[in-house]
Each structure stands twice: as C-alpha cells, then as structure tokens.
C-alpha cells in the first residue's frame, strides 16, 4: 500500500499539517485529506465490496469516521494508512452484516465464516458457469470477481489487503481482530478457493484463459 502521499503537493499542504489545522478547528483543511486520499480508499472499498455504490458509501463513512476520531490519530502512522484501516474495518463490518442478512433470507445456509465443510472448494466450483460460456479475459476477470464474492468477509478482506495493497500480516490481523497465524490461514484459504475457481481455465504453463480464447 502506501500510495498515500505525505509530501507537499503543488499548492497543497502536507497531511500532517492538514491534520493539525483540522484539529485546530479549520474544517476546510480536512478537505485536503479527503481529496488526496479518496481514490486510494475507493480502490480498497471497491475491491472489498465488489460494486461502486457500496464502495462510495464505504469511502464517505471512512472519512466521516476519520474526522470524528481525528484526535485519536496518534500521528505515528500516515493519514492515508490510518483512513485506509478505518475503511477496511467499516467494509468488513458491512460485508458481515450483509452476509448475515443473506443467510437469514436463504434457508440452506452457507457455512459460517472460517468453517470449512468436507470440501471447502466445492461451493466455488458449483457456482462456476461452464467453461464454454466464458470467452475472453474480461469474462475471466468477471469469473474471479464472482469467486471473490463467494469468499467470507474475512477472506476477502485478507486477500484484498494482502495482494493489492501489500499489507503485512500484522496489519491485516489488526483489521480482522485475529492472531497472525489465524490471519495467515485466512489468506491461504482465500487463495485456495480462488485457485479452485480458476482451475478449469488454467492450462499447463500456469496461464489462465477463458475457453476458446488464446491468452
């Protein structure tokens, strides 16, 4: 992660200064932080929620909470990292809430988070459309997007933070409120499920391509 830019930008002020001014009562200073870090937080939110509407809500809520808790921001981490964590925490809460709501609506419930059945990957495979229906890399990406949706909120959070944002296990563990060893397992479980979802399209040599297409 760490696209967060703390340095002075053209015509702008540093994150640290913007935080200081906001705390001193200058509300407009917070605007600098929002405008600077919104895209970054949006990418996390989109990858976690899987749709633009939910992602935008996560971003707004993260910055609102950041403003309310700004006094707790110790200043020993950069603001981008801090608001990123707030967004991750909020997004995982949302995912869990949604999952619970879905579970209540659907009678044959899915296994609870972290609970593996006899074949934890079967669910992913079953949900997969036949290879013939897939064509082109866009569909492959869509397939992966679908596979991501089948992950538990913790697995999804773990893989997003680990793969796209390069977060350390400790950092992910803090968001998952879990131990480091349990978090490592969660990341691996996510990878296993994704690998299983992708296996019909992975050919010898490790390249993935949709049926009927050349990669």
């Amino acid at each position: 992660m760490r696209e967060a830019n703390e340095t002075l930008e053209a015509g702008g002020i540093s994150d640290a200064l913007a935080v200081e001014r906001t705390l001193a009562g200058e509300r407009e200073a917070y605007r600098v932080l929002v405008e600077r870090h919104s895209h970054y937080v949006y990418r996390l939110a989109y990858r976690m929620t899987g749709n633009p509407h939910d992602a935008e809500e996560v971003v707004q809520e993260a910055f609102l909470r950041g403003y309310q808790k700004l006094r707790q921001f110790a200043g020993n981490a950069n603001f981008g990292t801090w608001v990123y964590r707030i967004a991750a925490n909020y997004a995982i809460d949302r995912l869990r809430q949604r999952k619970n709501e879905d579970a209540r609506r659907e009678t044959p419930s899915r296994p609870a988070e972290g609970e593996l059945g006899v074949d934890p990957l079967a669910q992913v495979r079953d949900a997969a459309p036949s290879p013939e229906r897939l064509a082109g890399s866009a569909q492959l990406a869509r397939r992966m997007q679908e596979a991501l949706q089948t992950l538990t909120p913790a697995e999804r959070t773990a893989i997003v933070m680990r793969h796209w944002d390069g977060c350390g296990i400790e950092e992910i563990a803090a968001v998952l409120k879990s131990s480091t060893s349990a978090t490592k397992n969660t990341v691996f479980r996510a990878v296993q499920k994704l690998r299983a979802a992708l296996s019909p399209f992975v050919h010898s040599g490790g390249t993935a391509r949709a049926a009927g297409t050349e990669s």
Binding site: V34, S38, E170, V202
Partner: protein, 270 residues
C-alpha cells in the same frame, strides 16, 4: 525432499519460507510442483485483471461535497469532550478537587499581612492538589500494574480482553490533562513531565481495541516497560505522599516566591 504442500508453495511464493533453498532446488527438478506453483501465480495474475472503475478526476471533491455538510462546523476542543456523559464523573471529581483547592485558598484564616495571606492561600491550594494528583497517580499506577502483570498467553491465538483497563484509561486521560495543565501553570515541571509521559501510555491503552491479539498485548506491555513510566509514577507519587503527610518539608524561605513556588522548585530539582 518430498513434494511440498500447497500451503508451503504459497509460503514460498510469499517469501515467508525459512528454507527456501531446498524448495527452490526441488522446484527446479519437479515439473509437477512447478506446475502447482504456476497455478498459484495464475490466480494472482487473474486478480490483477480485475479492473477498478475510475470514479473520475473530481472524485475527491465529490466525496468532500457529500460529507462536508455532515461534519460539525468546528471540531470540539479537548475540554468539550470532557462533557460527554461517561466522562463527567471522573472530570467532575477532578474539577471539584481543583475548585476545593482554589476555595480553600480563599477562605482559610485571614492574616494581617497581604504577602502572608497569599503564601497561606497558596499553601492550602497546593496541599489539596498534592493529594488529588497523588490519588490520580495511584489509580493510573493500578491500571499499568494490572496490564504489566497480566500473564497473557502470548504464544496462543486467543484474543485478550482489555476493555476494563481501556475504559479506566480513558477516564484517567481526562483527569490527567487537567492536572498536567495545572502543574504546568504552577511551574511544576517535574510533575507535568511525568503526567505528560503517563498521558501517552494512557492514550495507547485507551485507543486500543477492546480485544487485542497476544502480539498487540505484548507490545503494550513492552511500551509500559520501555518508558519506565511505572517507576516514574511511583517516585512522584511517593514524593507527593511524603509532602502531604508533612514528612518531607519542601524548601522554604527562598527569595522571590511563595512557599508553594518553593515546593514546585523543590520537586523540579528532585
């Protein structure tokens, strides 16, 4: 070497395997395991193929417009947070003690000379403060001792609940700020400095989640030990206790200051 498990292959890919050399050598000669590793790589390559829609150049400005109205016009000052119901009790006690100190200074015997009156008032005020800060340090010490002595299973995975210590630290924080401010204004730099260090540790505890991992808990314990804050709190507290019971007489008769000024100087010197 026997064929590595998928988990070991993943650990190898993540750079988290200790004996990488052996596995690398195995991979060089084992087509089956190499293919397994490539399948894992294919997962990450496919993930990279998922595009994030561009929310637009002006997205940051849009987010600001959406949340700006929901932000309070002006952030609360630190003292405004003291008025939150759950903190009122702790703050009320601290404020009452400060008020008592002030009032005691006004109503005690009215001596003839104005200079003497000022000195006596200062003395009584100081006495009440000494007791109040001493009590505060005692309560803080208890929280820190409990955290330091708690024998958590740092090897296990079970989360540790520190919600009780967290709440107490949160309440103590407000008192601490008041006393630190008062100590600073009174020129009591030694106490102000200890309270300042204490505040940072209390802040760490108060801002931690209610349930933390053993590693996070160990890190809090380490911070308490590293700053030597417990020892400092004990030393200052003992000094204040001695002063309150009259066992240790502060320096007196220094020119250019009241007796309470002298007390502060004596503590700073100590």
């Amino acid at each position: 070497m026997k064929h590595p498990s998928e988990e070991e292959l993943f650990a190898y890919r993540e750079g988290e395997m200790k004996d990488r050399g052996a596995l690398a050598a195995h991979l060089a000669g084992c087509a089956e395991c190499s293919a397994q590793l490539e399948k894992l790589e294919a997962v990450f390559a496919a993930l990279d193929g998922i595009a994030v829609p561009d929310p637009g150049q002006d997205y940051g400005a849009r987010v600001w417009r959406q949340i700006a109205e929901r932000l309070p016009q002006k952030r609360q000052n630190w003292w405004a947070s003291l008025l939150q119901p759950q903190r009122l009790l702790a703050v009320g006690c601290a404020a009452a003690l400060l008020l008592a100190a002030f009032w005691a200074g006004r109503v005690t015997k009215k001596p003839n000379a104005p200079a003497e009156a000022a000195a006596d008032a200062g003395q009584v005020r100081e006495r009440v403060l000494v007791v109040a800060v001493g009590e505060h340090l005692g309560k803080s010490e208890m929280v820190l001792v409990e955290l330091s002595n708690r024998n958590a299973d740092t090897q296990g995975n079970k989360l540790i609940n520190i919600s009780s210590e967290q709440r107490r630290a949160e309440n103590l924080l407000e008192e601490n700020r008041l006393y630190r401010q008062t100590a600073l204004e009174g020129g009591d730099n030694a106490i102000a400095s200890t309270l300042n260090e204490l505040e940072r540790v209390l802040l760490d505890v108060a801002n931690s989640p209610a349930e933390i991992t053993p590693a996070q808990f160990a890190s809090i314990q380490k911070r308490i030990a590293a700053q030597g804050i417990l020892l400092k709190v004990r030393v200052v507290r003992q000094g204040l206790r001695d002063e309150a019971t009259g066992r240790k007489q502060p320096l007196e008769g220094q020119p250019g200051g009241t007796k309470s000024d002298s007390n502060a100087k004596a503590r700073n010197k100590a």
